[in-house]
């Protein structure tokens, strides 16, 4: 067992099953992330004109990459937060494994749908999709949506469990959401202050539950259509609810990943980790401001009611202040003059803030209706969400995984591995800059075939992708040194 200092989690025998399942979640997400990254490289090589894929295979790979990345990173983030929650809340290994199993059903069904069935429709579902593609049959479309169902139900089980345990610990939902902190007056008795991870878990579990119900509201009619009970699903209805489900799942991943930062930053800065009034307010606003922006995907759909477009616009801009002021500036203030110990996890956190800032700026610009008129179907859109993911979510999540393995095994990182973390940042920044420039240059998104004049920017991106892979391999090599020890230390004791 590692030498546990005051800033390490307390790992008792009763915590081991939770830490084991946390590792499984994170490692599963990590492996899928790596494979999906290779698919991403293939798409960039295609756009560079260096390895031209057939359109059918490009779109299959695009479908796998998109669905796989979102599902993988959400799973990894879910695993990270339970390792932190485990310190203060009693979790159930049985519930968490059940969620993992159901969620993981998405993997084989996605592979069957795309690799065997030929499904290449991305995650959108507007009629005649998903069942009447030219190169795939209905069964492949059904399997694709079984994938979504598996992710949704698995995530729902997880969210319900986290909602329940944090509610029980706090003695009610209002206390778990830190309303006593928000509405406390000086004369009041000491308000109940949940841990930041508990508050984050409660907020994101509420988001998750609503999101999944949104998904069920679109998946149910889609399955009814497959069964012949409906001729087709109204495209506007379908798109609104698919976006509520898919966009919110992707968006909530960022906030679950941010919860890892609140858990990790105090270890390296010896500051922070308190549920202040402002932190509590921000997490409460997050519940509304993650669920209301999805209409910003339908600005270009003329049939969309104007009111929904305005809601999407207002919500997309409203979340920026709390993210910027509280999470980013607030956490940067913990870092400033703290003498922060620079290690792989802390470097990744610092990089992640910048990724979030630039992704957020890109997203805020694109969520303005006049700008969206120009940028909607360009690479600007994937640029902003790749910024959130590549230099936001992944840095927070893999930084936490690196820390967790090191702490569980007692194997300290090599000093030189920090260089790999910085290289990851540089590689990510270069890759993202190319995406943004392509979007600004009106290069379209979701096009398999690129005009020759668009190839250059993609060609510039490829070396950055390769640098990303190199830096990740370096980090993985260091992480692997502690993996067997971490696994062993979270194993069940041998029964007599």
């Amino acid at each position: 067992m590692s030498d546990h200092s005051i800033d390490s989690p307390a790992y008792g025998l009763e915590n081991k099953p939770i830490l084991r399942v946390s590792l499984v979640y994170m490692l599963t997400g990590f492996v899928i992330f790596l494979i999906m990254g290779i698919l991403g490289l293939m798409m960039r090589l295609d756009h560079a004109g260096w390895w031209v894929l057939s359109p059918d295979w490009f779109y299959r790979i695009m479908t796998l990459h998109g669905a796989g990345m979102v599902a993988a990173l959400l799973m990894a983030a879910m695993g990270g937060i339970i390792a932190i929650l485990n310190k203060t809340v009693k979790l159930s290994a049985r519930w968490l494994w059940s969620a993992y199993v159901i969620y993981s059903l998405s993997v084989p069904f996605l592979l069957y749908a795309v690799l065997i069935g030929g499904y290449a429709g991305g995650w959108t579902a507007l009629d005649p999709l998903p069942y009447h593609g030219l190169t795939w049959g209905k069964s492949a479309g059904v399997m694709m949506y079984v994938t979504f169902l598996a992710v949704g139900v698995g995530f729902l089980i997880y969210c319900v469990h986290l909602f329940d345990v944090t509610r029980r610990k706090a003695g009610g939902v209002r206390r778990a959401l830190a309303w006593e902190v928000i509405f406390s007056r000086k004369s009041n008795a000491t308000p109940y202050e949940p841990e930041v991870a508990e508050l984050a878990a409660m907020a994101t579990s509420i988001i998750g539950i609503v999101t999944v119900f949104g998904g069920i509201l679109v998946l149910a009619p889609l399955f009814a259509e497959a069964a012949g009970l409906l001729k087709s699903v109204n495209p506007l209805y379908s798109k609104n609810f698919i976006m509520l489900f898919g966009h919110s799942i992707a968006n909530v991943t960022i906030y679950i990943a941010v919860a890892l930062v609140y858990g990790l930053l105090p270890v390296y800065t010896k500051r922070g980790g308190h549920t202040t009034k402002f932190v509590a307010l921000a997490w409460n606003f997050t519940i509304i401001l993650v669920l209301t922006p999805p209409p910003h995907h339908l600005y270009q759909d003329f049939a969309q009611p104007l009111g929904l477009a305005i809601i999407g616009q207002v919500a997309s801009w409203s979340i920026a202040p709390s993210v910027l002021l509280l999470t980013i500036l607030g956490n940067l203030s913990y870092i400033y003059r703290s003498g922060m110990r620079w290690a792989v996890p802390s470097v990744m956190i610092a990089l992640g803030f910048w990724g979030w800032v630039f992704g957020g700026i890109g997203g805020t610009i694109d969520s303005a209706i006049p700008a969206n008129n120009l940028l909607h179907n360009t690479l600007w859109v994937p640029a902003h969400f790749h910024a959130y993911y590549l230099l936001g979510v992944t840095t927070f999540v893999w930084g936490y995984l690196f820390y967790l393995i090191s702490d569980l095994s007692g194997v300290k990182e090599k000093a030189s591995t920090k260089i790999a973390a910085w290289l990851y940042g540089i590689a990510g920044a270069g890759f993202l800059l190319v995406f943004f420039l392509s979007g600004a240059d009106s290069v379209p998104r979701r096009y398999a075939v690129h005009l020759p004049e668009w190839n250059l920017l993609a060609a510039i991106a490829v070396p950055f992708v390769l640098l990303t892979i190199f830096s990740l391999l370096w980090i993985i090599w260091d992480m692997m040194r502690g993996l067997s020890g971490a696994w062993r230390n979270t194993g069940a004791p041998k029964l007599e």
Partner: protein, 222 residues
């Protein structure tokens, strides 16, 4: 080496094993005897349902009843053999090979033409899946018994994938794989549609059975 001792064999009630034995034999008979046997000749999808009953219903029941075969002995050639065959990796390989080999189109079609081969096919499925389900059961375990949650999840996930991959291939195939059914009258469905339905039965029933097994065997304890 078996991990049983005489005290375990003597003191525990065997009633659940006997109940499982009776239920397993009954479901096996219901699957292979008429009228089910007659539907199988006419329809690929009915044939797949028959196989699902054998592997996902009869086999786990008989796997639970397996200790009845060694209830009077702690160590013998038979328990030593079971030791080896019920090790998770071995059981997985045997079940995967068993199911894939008999779904090779040529062999599948020939088995439908020959009564003995068809019977042999069913016996192979049944025995292979008795071995597959056994490592999940703790009653008088010999050989490999999967104690940890992650072990059970991994084992069943691999099992689900090996059978699921075959099922998905059959479901998504755009041509008739098993030509034995081609000359039969279309009836309600075309032979291809019936083949796809059969694959779907295999996929759905197999997935549901294995997921249920995982969820039932998960524990909170370390």
């Amino acid at each position: 080496m078996t991990n049983l001792n005489q005290k375990q064999l003597d003191t525990r009630s065997w009633k659940w094993e006997w109940a499982a034995w009776i239920a397993g034999i009954f479901t096996f008979a219901a699957a292979v005897l008429p009228p089910m046997d007659e539907f199988v000749d006419a329809s690929f999808s009915a044939h797949m349902l028959q196989h699902m009953i054998l592997t996902m219903v009869s086999a786990p029941l008989l796997a639970y009843a397996l200790p009845l075969l060694y209830r009077n002995q702690t160590s013998s050639w038979f328990t030593n053999l079971l030791d080896q065959l019920t090790r998770p990796a071995v059981a997985l390989i045997i079940s995967a090979v068993g199911i894939w080999i008999w779904h090779i189109p040529f062999l599948y079609d020939v088995a439908l033409e020959d009564e003995f081969l068809h019977f042999l096919e069913h016996v192979v499925f049944l025995l292979a899946f008795v071995l597959f389900w056994r490592p999940l059961m703790s009653n008088k375990a010999v050989g490999g018994y999967l104690k940890s949650n992650e072990g059970r999840v991994l084992y069943l996930t691999i099992g689900m994938f090996t059978t699921g991959l075959l099922a998905a291939y059959i479901t998504l195939a755009k041509h008739l794989i098993y030509t034995h059914y081609a000359p039969l009258e279309a009836g309600v469905r075309s032979p291809l549609a019936d083949q796809q339905l059969g694959g779907a039965y295999m996929l759905v029933v197999g997935t549901v059975a294995m997921v249920a097994a995982i969820l039932l065997t998960l524990r909170d304890d370390p």
